[in-house]
Amino acid sequence: MEQLRIRWFQWAAPQSFYPIAGRWWPFFAALAAGLALVGLYLGFFVAPTDFQQGEGYRIIFVHVPASWMSMVIYLAMAFWAFLGFTFNTRLSGMMTQALAPTGAMFTFLSLWTGALWGKPMWGTWWVWDARLTSELILFFLYMGYIALTSAIDDPRRADRAGGLLALVGAVNVPIIYFSVKWWNTLHQGASVSVTKGSSMAQTMLWAMLLMALAFWAYSIAMALYRVRSIILQRERHARWVQEVVA
């Protein structure tokens, strides 16, 4: 058990993690590309035309997995932040910062694909649906994290302040979601539902699942790739970095 603990802490050192990340990110990138190809093929060519929504519904194969990933990544950020506070490792803060841009990107993608879906269906670019509104608020939370960590010069303080913000945000996300749902039902807002009015064909589910896995693999690849740059930048005065860069 002690052996395992020591090994874990060894991996947690930026110097050790750098080559590990370097080995694994191409694998995840390839996996992401492969899964995305299959998923998109299934979604755009194989899945049947929806009875009510025609062809335009196919955007959900990007929209729904993007929404899922935006939530998952935020939870991952909160998880790393929690590790950072508990074990006081430098790598935790770096991983949280590495995940943020990808999470923000997926939230942004989810909002845009939501709008693209809504236009042919409901005639407007934006609908105050509970889920979309929550996505918008999640986008603000991501932007807040990125803005805060960019504004603080000292890397350690940026990591810790950002980590606390991520944790506070993660605790609040269920509360925010619940209150937005309440607000939506109160005002009888539109509901942009994926399954409403039609049963999901098997292929549709498979396509969404594959796309979700593809996005997940992509996120891991991007986070690992990005954390390598962050490690190099933070540790640039260490001798091992000089040797790598030379």
């Binding site: 608020i137 603000f140 932007m143 803005a147 805060l148 504004a151 303080r157 606390l164 913000l165 209150s179």
Partner: protein, 221 residues
């Protein structure tokens, strides 16, 4: 005198000698409440409908204005360091500061709201619910805002950043606070909204100062 009371007394005393800060928030609230009818038109039916939202958002923004000064002066003159070294737990001292902030900005806003509600043509019972919702909501806003203020202490562009950080977290309070008033307007029960607001206040009141203290120690490093 306990440390909590000492902090509270000091902050209140300082505010009394520096009156401008208290008045800023109140005046902003009045301006916002006056500008909307001017922008939208004085039609009574419309005004009555938008009043809960306008007044709640106005109170939120006014409360946000004064948050930037919650910890910054103490940080700059070294008082925050002394508070961090106190034998009293830092969350307790933070709770005192947040209480002072509410007494100086949130409470006046809440008490002023019925007066502004007159401009929007709200009836008596609705004004009562508005007052109640703001009495519960403004301390909640102070607690949440304090965490944001602590995180952005001494950071470049801190004030704007504070708004960005804190507004998403304010949304649940806004939804239930203005929802209570709207419920009363529609003749529905508002107690559920207020109970949820109260529950959120209790949670924020308990966990907020603790998170704030962590953020302050990070800023003091």
């Amino acid at each position: 005198m306990s440390a909590f009371m000492a902090v509270l007394q000091r902050d209140l005393r300082l505010a009394l000698r520096r009156k401008s800060e208290v008045l800023t928030a109140v005046f902003f609230f009045v301006v916002v409440a006056t500008l909307f009818p001017l922008a939208i038109g004085p039609e009574p039916e419309t005004l009555r409908k938008i009043a809960p939202g306008i007044l709640w958002v106005g109170a939120m923004l006014a409360s946000l204005l004064s948050l930037g000064r919650l910890f910054a002066p103490d940080y700059q003159d070294g008082s925050l360091e002394q508070m961090a070294l106190s034998q009293a737990p830092l969350p307790v001292l933070v709770a005192a500061k947040v209480t002072a902030h509410w007494l100086l900005s949130g409470l006046p806003l809440a008490l002023l709201s019925p007066l502004l509600a007159v401009q929007f043509g709200l009836d008596g019972p609705t004004m009562g619910v508005l007052l109640l919702s703001l009495l519960l909501g403004t301390p909640l806003l102070s607690c949440i805002g304090a965490v944001g203020a602590a995180l952005t202490l001494g950071v470049r562009g801190g004030e704007v950043l504070l708004s960005l950080l804190v507004l998403p977290l304010y949304i649940p309070a806004l939804v239930f606070g203005s929802g209570a008033v709207e419920a009363q307007q529609s003749g529905l029960a508002y107690s559920a909204h207020l109970s949820i607001l109260m529950a959120m206040l209790l949670m924020a009141g308990f966990f907020g100062p603790w998170a704030c203290a962590v953020a302050l120690r990070i800023a003091l490093e």
